[in-house]
Amino acid sequence: MNEFVETLLDLQWHEPKRAYDVVIIGGGGHGLSTAYHLAARHGITNVAVLDASYIGSGNSGRNTTIIRSNYGIPESIRFYQHSLELYSRLEAETGCWIMHNTKGLMWLAHSQNSMRQERSRVMMNQACGANTVMVTPDEAKEICPQLDLSGGGRYPIKGGSYQPGGATARHDRVVWAYAQGAMRAGVHVLQHTPVTGLTMDGDRVVGVETPGGPISAGMVMSAVGGDVTSIMNMAKVRLPVKTHPLQAFVTNAYAQELSAIVSSIELLGYVSQTARGQLLMGAEFETQPTYARETTFQSMGSVATKIAYLLPFVKNLRILRQWAGRCDVSVDFSPIMGPTGVEGLCVSTGWGTWGFKSIPAGGEKMAEYIATGSVPEMIAPFSLDRFAADHPMADQGSTGTR
């Protein structure tokens, strides 16, 4: 059965109402997950999710679908480990097959310095409940037999860390699973409804403006990716966020199995195999912020060269298609969740390289915040006011492969 037939979805589209309890801007993974959790966990169903295009058309459709929790600071490890666990239960919870595939994630180190960094990461992970272990070069070769342990002579593999729970899932299906769950509960998902302004009553946000007319809301949440600055400018909220482009590409199908997700700390590149057999590769985002979703030969060449050091067989593959998306990168590489300081407006942003892995936990915790009015303990460290308090959550494990 092909993918299309299997995903005949139970989606009901609605005409927009004039008022909702909650309006969520951005119909990607985070927005729909928040709507789903509001309906499923808190019984709040008078909710609208607005998307400027179709659902999952932004960063939810552009990420590299890696689910992991091997972060560097306790707050992040606990949050992402919770997300990883929610992902593994998502199929049972929503009844949708998201093609969740636990394949293990390996971070390779090429110097003593990186090995030391990985050892500290492993210790921190184990202390905070995430299962990450150190691997020797031989164990790495056993996990991924295609590895060239000499690293092309330039980047010899000294070892690395391995997270057996690392997984991938189909990005569209995650969006659809949450959309279907939310819509069944009565949430309105309004596609092709861009937000052109925020309706203010004094200092308070009381709704959004759309080309089809204003929609009033008890609470507005921004779950947009790439355009968060323009949404926040409407309410004069300043963010420590820059919008960087990130590129990725897939090669033609590789007949054998590449069993694990392989990445390298020094090379800042990663590769995994999609369900179609193609190899999905990506690297760090570009250094300068840009809104253009432009792919460059320069970037593809640099990623391909890096991966070829570790997996020489990729030299025989061809690049099939490439894409780019906009990442909202916060200054400390950690997400920003919770109130904005403006009443009636909350935000979920700063997901760095697209935030796919945090969709279940981010949605669950933002829903809890909106429903109860108090910031859940797990995401309290990630509030926007941490910058004014001079307490950034600097985490090198947050973005890309760093």
Binding site: T243, Q288, T290
Partner: protein
């Protein structure tokens, strides 16, 4: 590819440069001195359009230069600031 004009060396490709970030500006309506400091240190304009930025010519003359770049298309605008 993005080309940036260095005041000493002329137009060179982005690969020769290190990005130094946008020139920090604090909006005039932020009046509290502490809030202005927080804004200056942490927050970005993150402009979608012409953005004034600093670039360091790492692989060239090793001097700083200022350029105005349109972030919608990732191209440097002709008027170097």
């Amino acid at each position: 590819m993005l080309f940036i004009t260095c005041t000493n060396c002329g137009s060179r490709s982005v690969e020769e440069y290190a990005f130094g970030g946008e020139l920090p500006t604090v909006p005039d309506d932020v009046t509290d001195p502490d809030a202005r400091n927080v804004d200056y240190v942490w927050f970005y304009d993150n402009v979608e359009g012409p953005s004034v930025e600093r670039w360091f010519h790492t692989a060239g003359c090793r001097r700083w230069t200022t350029a105005r770049r349109d972030t919608r298309v990732d191209r440097v605008l002709p008027d170097v600031g």
